[in-house]
């Protein structure tokens, strides 16, 4: 135990030194500090859509005269929530349904974003975080099949799976067997039980790859993953409303928040929809363009940088 403590301490000190050095030399930001102060924009997780929206927030703030730092490779909410609370980052884009369940696992998420937002707001406020307006961009979970599978088993809705699921393999995030939106919910809400489940990843393209290669028959993906339309796949309609609404919304540390920041970020939320974020995701996920470039074009096209 003594050694552990000793080098944990040493490691911490050196890590701090490293962070200090890295911050000092980091980024392409200019040396001048603006009178409006510095904000650090983070992400809730390190995937394309989140990074694009985070870039939008960063760029509107920069345009308004803030100095902005970016922390866009935080891998997941387990890291980004503590980072926001402790002030390592000042704001990030979030998904209100998932965040609600993260903050309170006992909460009941719903298909109605307004209900979720009103449940989420006081929970966040208690930890010094402000939830701003949610957008109409809803990135929810979707059970996806290839066109061939859909044709073969006549699948259009999730409830269509009930009679054939026993012969099929589901692929999705490892937490699927435990989470209400996945295997348990499929069983209770739809009476759907798959023959087999293969844990892969959460809304990553490895899961999509597995579906494409036929290694799994049904994939749990995120509804805004561009691969779905690029491949002509079928996202089964959630006809009994198992999935929660997961609208994108900014969350900001209350202590740095002000009316101008609210106005700027809410303006972004007002323009985002499920339909118009799809091509942005495709540009990054499939054409491998940079999130910053894609975000800037969106902001310009929607008059948010003028």
């Amino acid at each position: 135990m003594r050694y552990n403590r000793r080098y944990a301490l040493g490691a911490t000190l050196l890590a701090l030194a490293f962070v200090a050095v890295a911050c000092g030399s980091g980024g392409g930001t200019t040396g001048t500090t603006s009178p409006k102060g510095t904000l650090t924009v983070g992400v809730s997780g390190g995937f394309a859509e989140n990074q694009i929206v985070a870039e939008m927030y960063a760029q509107v703030l920069e345009h308004a005269g803030y100095t902005v730092k970016r922390q866009l490779d935080i891998q997941n909410r387990e890291a980004s929530e503590p980072a926001l609370k402790s002030g390592v980052i000042d704001l990030k884009p979030e998904y209100i349904g998932t965040l609600l369940l993260f903050v309170n696992p006992q909460a009941s998420a719903s298909a109605d974003p307004a209900q979720e937002a009103s449940a989420l707001k006081p929970l966040l406020a208690a930890t010094g975080i402000t939830l701003l307006n949610y957008s109409q961009a809803n990135d929810t979970n979707a059970f996806v099949v290839t066109k061939a599978t859909a044709d073969k088993y006549h699948l259009a809705k999730v409830s269509d799976l009930a009679s054939v699921a026993g012969q099929l393999t589901l692929g999705g995030p490892p937490e699927c067997p435990q989470r209400p939106f996945c295997i348990p919910g499929l069983k209770t809400t739809y009476g759907v039980t798959f023959g087999h489940f293969n844990p892969i990843g959460a809304c990553d393209s490895a899961t999509a790859d597995a579906l494409d290669a036929g290694a799994i028959d049904v994939a749990l993906l995120c509804s805004t993953q561009s691969v779905i339309s690029a491949k002509g796949w079928v996202a089964l309609e959630d006809d009994k409303h198992l999935q929660k609404a997961d609208n994108i919304a900014p969350v900001v540390r209350t202590s740095v928040d002000n009316a101008e920041i609210n106005r700027l970020l809410n303006a972004v939320s007002a323009k985002l929809t499920t339909e118009n974020i799809l091509p942005l995701n495709k540009a990054v996920e499939i054409d491998h363009e940079d999130a910053a470039v894609v975000a800037k074009k969106f902001l310009q096209d929607n008059g948010l940088l003028s």
Partner: protein, 226 residues
Amino acid sequence: MTVTLSAEPFVRWSWVAGHLHDIRIHFVEHIELTVIAVAIGLVISLPLAVYSHRHRRAYPPVTFVTGLMYTVPSLALFAFLVPFTGLTTTTAEIGLVSYTLLILIRNVVAGLAGVPEDVKDAARGMGYTDRQLLWRVELPLAAPVIVAGIRIATVTTIGLVTVTALIGKGGLGYFILKGYRESFPTSTLIGGVLSVLLATLVDALLLFAQRVLTPWARASRVRAFA
């Protein structure tokens, strides 16, 4: 805009050209994570090794504990630490450092054991204290073997750093994870190839250092895996 997944080329050079800045940042991070790990590893290993060399009874428990640390899989170790230290650089460094210890301690002890008795006797005869003996005679003479250990530890660490991408660090491992998540071989290859190149380059540099420190030695022998 009609690119499909199947048309994805193995290496998309235009992407590489457009991301040199990004690549440089992660390359530097990779080096920083490695250097910090080996440096802390050395700071811990040197006193333990010197103590083990002086008191042979201490050596078995020291190698047992560090051997245990070396045997634990990196993903398992990171998993152990995350509940306590979070997804932080500290977690990554504790893991990386603990893998360097066995290699470094073994080599420092072997290096010190290789210092001829008569040389030490001569130094004592000249009135050297134990401390002076250590710093002016034993460590300099053991330097080649110690550097050999640093070499192995460094190359091993460079490979391991990529795994820390799973806890949000990773240096070049960032590109490997990104490539995997996005089905983007260009990114995976950039991460993998640069990591191997870095390891090879560092290996060559440290081999050179080893030779400079031992001008009297002939071509170095290949060390077997112990």
